[in-house]
């Protein structure tokens, strides 16, 4: 299976701290994307990293990709209450099928 496995399943941190979430997978990918989902709402695209890239930044977000280890991480720096959400990695292989991970539920404590 090329399903993404995310860890931790849940993460609770203090506002202002950094949050790191990881995604591991089992097969080759063309690119990997991270999405955020606030409770009861649709998913919002955060960042895309291609298989030939190792690191990308977008504002307070930093994504790394290690294709040799088949893993990616999402770092959110200087967390805010509004960052409370579920975060999913999505695997895009050469096939058209897209596989989402099970998600990390992030809670930011004020």
């Amino acid at each position: 299976s090329q399903q993404g496995e995310e860890d931790p399943q849940a993460l609770s941190i203090q506002e202002g701290e950094n949050a790191t979430m990881n995604c591991s997978y089992k097969t080759s990918i063309n690119n990997l994307q991270w999405y955020r989902q606030n409770s009861g709402r649709g998913l919002v695209h955060l960042i895309l990293i291609r298989s030939n890239e190792r690191e990308k930044h977008s504002g307070r977000l930093r994504v790394t990709l290690d294709t040799s280890k088949k893993s990616s991480s999402l770092l959110i720096t200087a967390s805010r209450a509004a960052d409370t959400a579920s975060y999913f990695c999505a695997l895009y292989s050469s096939a058209s099928k897209i596989i989402f991970g099970s998600g990390t539920r992030l809670s930011i404590r004020p």
Partner: protein, 113 residues
């Protein structure tokens, strides 16, 4: 511009009934995806359209599920003889083409009683 819209937002139906869920993608997006999401889980891929054709329907759980996109824009997901296990949020997403970022609609919450 307008985002992806889905109707209805909520649908309650009785076991055994037929339902249709509609998705209006962003204008100009050729790729359209349907997913199903259960509580506490990530979206589960159902079907992908590139234009009018279903490029990958390997995620449809069985032959009770069918989807169409006759003019390459609006798509309808059809579920026959609904079962309680079909209860979930059905998400639609569109993208400029495959492998690009997806824009998700708010979803249709289907409850089968």
């Amino acid at each position: 511009g307008a985002g992806v819209s889905q109707t209805p937002s909520n649908k309650v139906t009785e076991k055994g009934k037929y339902v249709e869920l509609r998705c209006d993608p962003i204008s100009g997006h050729t790729a359209l995806y349907w997913y199903r999401q259960s509580l506490g889980q990530g979206p589960e891929f159902l079907i992908y359209f590139q234009g009018t054709g279903a490029a990958d329907d390997s995620g449809l759980p069985n032959d009770r599920f069918f989807a169409v996109r006759p003019e390459g824009s609006v798509s309808t997901l059809k579920i026959q003889r609904t079962e309680r296990g079909d209860s979930a949020v059905y998400l639609c997403a569109s993208s400029l083409t495959s492998q690009y970022e997806q824009y998700f609609g708010p979803g249709t919450r289907l409850t089968v009683t």
